[in-house]
């Protein structure tokens, strides 16, 4: 495995909300009473079944509670041993599943305030992503503007499988706000389960959802590129989180090949897809989904034609590697430095 260097930025860690009741102190009186009197249960999606091996490394799994719910564990497991300068918290709590735009907005607001008080205020290395209520674009923009006043929020977080293709123009006010406030949009694996988690319908097994994430990322990248998001918002960065990276080059070849024949359908796309990806899209490292041979790895990066696309991540507490082996074998020391330090700082301007 390639050697880690100190001062890196972990672009994808997951602090867990212990239970819906953990958010009660951050809800308004009205919504607090609604949660208790209605008897609302914990928001659990099927994306990460608690006992699935991938949900937590055995040595990162607590005896009680959810993996990732303890700051002390996160410090002991990643912040300290990986000698990180920053870690970006991406809370994956099922608030996106809620259909009521009012309730979803209340939960997102509570979740963001919970992140500030229970995590960001307690460790200076932590940074946050703003979780937004995408059922209402107005409320999503308002939440971005509210949270962005705290410079420790460095990103807006969306799910790769929400309600609509992410390039759709109805969502553009979110992108306008993000670009204006120097916030990249992080697109994380996972579904709001408002649509089947695969393009072909509902599968039977966990692995179908998990492997299918890569197709969802491809479809979203296509949508974002051909709808012209990066023509309208050329400074906007989007980070594909937990997307995998091995599919990028063949996917881009396919997209570019077909675009050349139907260019007139989306004439605002005036560059090759790979060029758009190089200027506006980044990918988190883990889960790294390429074969383990260094030659394959080097070829993969050659095909991307850039050493600026990949950002270091551990995906804590999910089980993607053992020990300290977060960096795949075959990365040169220069590339390690780019992935761990330079690329994250170039992507997240608020990281300081």
């Amino acid at each position: 495995m390639a050697s880690l260097i100190a001062g890196g930025v972990d672009c994808d860690v997951h602090p867990a909300v212990p239970h819906l009741t953990s958010l009660l102190p951050y809800l308004s009186d009205y919504w607090r009473d609604q949660v208790t009197t209605r008897g609302m249960v914990d928001l659990v999606s099927q994306s990460y079944p608690r006992n699935s091996p991938i949900v937590a490394r055995p040595d990162w799994r607590p005896e009680t509670g959810k993996p990732g719910e303890s700051l002390e564990d996160m410090q002991r497991h990643v912040l300290d041993p990986f000698q990180l300068s920053y870690a970006i918290c991406n809370p994956l709590y099922g608030v996106q599943m809620v259909f009521s735009e009012d309730l979803q907005a209340a939960f997102c607001r509570a979740l963001n305030d919970w992140l500030v008080k229970e995590w960001l205020d307690r460790d200076p290395r932590l940074r946050g992503s703003i979780v937004i209520p995408t059922q209402s674009i107005d409320k999503a923009v308002a939440e971005i503007e509210r949270c962005a006043q705290d410079r420790r929020f460095v990103q807006v977080l969306m799910l790769v499988m929400g309600d609509t293709p992410l390039g759709k123009r109805a969502l553009w006010p979110i992108y306008e706000a993000a670009e204006r406030l120097n916030l990249p949009i992080g697109i994380h694996a996972g579904s709001a389960y408002h649509n089947p988690p695969t393009a072909v319908g509902w599968g039977s097994y966990h692995i179908e959802d998990y492997v299918g994430q890569a197709q969802a990322f491809q479809t979203q990248l296509t949508s974002l590129i051909v709808e012209g998001v990066f023509v309208k918002y050329p400074r906007l960065k989007m980070v594909m989180l937990e997307s995998g990276v091995s599919w990028i080059s063949p996917f881009l070849w396919r997209l570019h090949k077909f675009w050349r024949g139907v260019r007139m359908e989306t004439p605002w796309v005036d560059r090759a897809s790979l060029e758009i990806v190089r200027s506006n899209i980044r990918f988190s490292l883990q889960p790294f989904d390429a074969p383990p041979e260094p030659e394959t790895l080097i070829r993969l990066f050659d095909h991307m034609q850039s050493d600026e696309l990949v950002l270091f991540s551990t995906d804590y507490p999910h089980w993607q590697f053992d020990g300290q082996d977060a960096l795949p074998e075959g990365l040169s020391p220069d590339l390690v430095r780019k992935i761990m330090i330079d690329n994250p700082h170039a992507t997240y301007p608020r990281l300081m």
Binding site: E227, V231, K232, R260, G261, R263, M264, P267, A272
Partner: protein, 137 residues
């Protein structure tokens, strides 16, 4: 560069195109609203008979959703993969730096000057009182 007489003008009215082979090269000559254009009839992508494709306009946009449509009938679209080429310059629009089809100048000459030469008119009988479409390659 030689000038080839390819047809009397009345054989190539506006909206038509003529396919021919000159020095072993497949060529098409178009009459678009009274202007004449010569183009190599071989797509630089994979060799299709490019000039058998439809003539369309040029869609351009700097603002997603707003399309400016110009050069109506001046863009030839390859029948195989849909690539667009500018009939005036031969440049492609999907990859202008790498792909271009050879374009040849074409125009009308009166028969009186055609008979004086130097012109190559192997297959066309030239009469002094007629006008002819001439392509240069």
């Amino acid at each position: 560069m030689a000038r080839h007489v390819i047809a009397p003008v009345d054989e190539l009215p506006p909206g038509t195109r003529k396919f021919l082979e000159i020095d072993g090269r497949p060529i098409a000559v178009f009459n678009i609203k009274g202007e004449y254009f010569g183009l190599m009839n071989r797509c630089p992508h994979q060799g299709a008979a490019l000039c058998e494709g439809p003539l369309i306009g040029l869609a351009q946009s700097s603002d997603p959703g707003e399309i400016e449509y110009t050069k109506l009938g001046e863009i030839i679209r390859c029948p195989w993969h849909g690539w667009e080429f500018d009939i005036r310059t031969g440049q492609s629009y999907c990859d202008p730096r790498r792909f271009r089809v050879k374009a040849y100048a074409a125009h009308v000459e009166p028969g009186a000057s055609v008979v004086k030469g130097p012109y190559v008119a192997e297959t066309v009988t030239v009469k002094v009182e007629s006008d002819y479409v001439v392509v240069e390659l």
